[in-house]
Amino acid sequence: MTPRNSEELTTVGKPLSREDALDKVTGAAQFVHDLALPGMLHAAMLTSPHSAARIVHIDATRARDVAGVRAVLVGEDLNFRLGLYMQDKPILARGVARYQGEPVAAVAADTLDAARAACQRINVEYEPLPAVFDPREAMSKSAPLVHENLHTYEYMQGVFSPKPHSNIAHHQKIRFGDVTKGILDAELVVKETFYNPPVQHVPMETHAVIARTLPDDRIEVHSSCQSPYTVRHLLSVCFGVPHQKIRVRVPYVGGGFGGKAGLHLEPLAICLSKATGGRPVKLVASREEEFNTLPSRQGLYSTIEIGVTKDGVIKALKAEYVWDAGAYADYGVNIGRAAAYSGAGPYRVPNCWIDSYVVYTNKVFGTAFRGFGHLEVLWGIERITDMVARRLEMDPFEFRLKNLLQEGDRTITGETVTAGHGRPDQCLRAVADAIKWGEPRQPAPEKTHRKRGKGLAVLHKAPAMPTFTSCSAVIKLDEDGSADILVSGVDYGQGTYTALRQIAAEELKLPVEKVHVTWDCDTAFSPYDWQTVASRFAYMGGNAIIEAARDCLRQIKSVAAAALNTTADRIVCQDGRAFVDGDPSKAIPYEKLALGYTFENGNSIGGPVIGHGRYIAEGLTHLDLETGQGLPALFWTYGAHAVELEVDSETGEVEILKVVTALDAGKVLNPKTCRGQVVGGVVQGLGSALWEAFIFDEQGRLLNRSFVDYKIPTAKDVPRAIEPIFIETPEPGGPYGARGIAEHPMISIPSAVGNALHDALGIEFRELPLTAERIHRAIRAAKEGR
């Protein structure tokens, strides 16, 4: 695991192309959308038109009469509750519907058309109930309760704290230092509020699952998911079936971004299969269902108060984060926790008080989303740092630099920053240089109504994961001496498998063409991995691969030593061959060792070479429920963005000219895939910054649930230039010194854009998205002196 000099590396650090790209460019790659099993049925869902309603009566008789219908299920049939951190979710709404779009009934039929037609014939009688849509209102005592029985739900004890008889699913506290004194000592105090609306992941492949039940309570599932073992575990808990009886298989996955991190359509498909006597049932979300029924990213209201000295030193930070969890808070509670412990930004904050509330509302619920609350929190934090700097008449660059965490500082959870944490200051300097921060602003050519501006923002994130998160890998040699990697982290586009392949090739001393990652994950064959989220898979999987590869080498060397009549410590491996150090002429190729070695006389030793490795996050602790103190972070990744933009002051339209993104990656395992992550993440971040938001009507119904009115960036909407910069301060515990960077490119992009807009227009924006209309309205108001 010790980092090595780049010059010595043959594969790691090289821009290797993805192996999986071949299947993808030929159409051979099969996603769950493409799979069919013999006897498979198709499922459709009926969803609630009301945000909050009692389900008075469901009459499905006419549905059952539709030709080809094999099963009809309603909530009353399914007495289960689901949840990883908080078990608050039924499979189908039971007794009450809690959001418009919530599945209320489902049908499995011979064809999708029959299933849909049958759903249309299910008669549901609703009694609308009082609903609450704003999480701040939902916190008040008089608000209608989204979950009346919150106090009866199971949840991860010692980590989360739901407040009974309220809409508060979790309250995370950070109490570090003495914030009251800190604010008093401050010479300037600035308090601001900010807002992030809910948005959707928009994976190009919607959620999809094929489920099949077998005799003796066995379950088999093909799922477009990020975490097969979590799916298995949650199904085990939900249905009370031992893990061993549940098999989860994951083929190619068309994007996840956190939305496929947990359990979604699987339980419903399983129940439908059971109801049909074990027929495979395929349930695929339409795009409308992807927007309206499947989860989103939580909205966030932030109130941040920051106290500084006259010369720009942060003395205290107080924040209240009110998360709009929607109707179910399973993942939401962990986001509320994780974002809180990161919730002051990568700064030295000696006194910090954070209250992070995860609050139920009657809207489509939130789940994990790339960044896990950090983009939302840093929208406020990185905007207020700019605002404070300006009030002090200080350069926002200088202000940040002055306060960025350094070696020896303590974070707001009491963790001490070491040299191996990474260098946020280098990231900031790199982007400021690249954007020519200090130089006077160039006016927009020719057109005076177009104004240019530059903005900076920093970011940090550690993997948000439980203290027991672990990962494992198996490497087996093939008959021809090549190596197969088995892991159950999922590569849903990030490119992690390619990095693992490179690490394995480097460690096994094999040319990379002879190393393959078995693409499909299957809990029957692939060894355990917690979840493919949190930017942790390359790090933890990489370490597991290194251990597995070294295990293989031990076996190879031991047999080679016997074959070459020496001791294992004198065996060197290179280019897929083992030989005595100094005598490569008598090398034994791996293929002669892969299944054991046979001497000339026929004696055979050894056996099939199979190496295993594992990695667990060691030394992490829970956060104290009262103070939030503890060690939650496996590693931190720091970064910074600089954005240069041009805004049309007549229409409010923004064009992003340049984005420079610096991340302290520790070690760039593959420059091609790392660049892909940055460019993709920046563009997704711009979506959040400029265009994306769920729009609800006064009854809490989602209005924009198709691409017609939920606009994501197209090829015409990208910046003129995106420049990724990778700083490489080795991460002591990372494979070859690498840290995770998957989520980070997106985090703080809206903040940098907001800061650049102030530079261009002199207007402070506090709400996202920064649409042309919002900007136009603000320009108009500023002109009229409002």
Binding site: F31, M204, K672, G676, S706
Partner: protein
């Protein structure tokens, strides 16, 4: 429900199928001809994941009825490689890092193939216009544009479809 017998040529292969009027070309390709490369991303022509070439022109198959394709030539991603040999476009996508999750990739390549067939030497703006109807959430499009440029610049930029 009346069935229509339609004949079309899919990737150079003669096909004859009986379809109801309401079946889309996308459903025909995926469910009857097992050409699952074209994907359903939205079902309403907004995302481009189902892009195929209909008589050489890129269209969103989800909004073409199967019956409308009677007598037509359809090319899908499965017809892009010839005798197992990748086209320069496919190879360029791999080399440029233009493929991440891969779900948008078949549609992207079909749009690009349509472009290079009618315009072997496109400008960057023309490439953007040709693929702007293909949504991608993973790559940020930069590598995709680069791949199409690369393919156009190499010798075999234009192929007879």
């Amino acid at each position: 429900m009346k069935m229509h017998t339609i004949r079309l040529v899919a990737n150079g292969q003669q096909e004859e199928v009986n379809v109801p009027a309401g079946m889309t070309l996308l459903e025909l390709l995926r469910e009857r001809l097992y050409l699952t490369g074209a994907k359903e991303g939205c079902g309403e022509g907004e995302c481009g994941a189902c892009t195929v070439l209909l008589n050489g022109k890129p269209v969103t198959a989800c909004l073409v009825l199967a019956v409308e394709a009677d007598g037509c030539e359809v090319q899908t991603i499965e017809g892009e490689a010839v005798n197992g040999e990748l086209s320069t476009l496919q190879q360029a996508f791999i080399d440029a890092g233009a493929v991440q999750c891969g779900f948008c990739t078949p549609g992207m390549i079909m749009s690009a193939r349509g472009l290079l067939s009618r315009n072997p030497n496109p400008t960057k703006e023309e490439i953007v216009e040709a693929v702007a109807g293909n949504l991608c959430r993973c790559t940020g499009y930069e590598a995709i544009i680069a791949a199409v440029r690369q393919a156009a610049q190499s010798q075999e930029g234009c192929r007879d479809t």
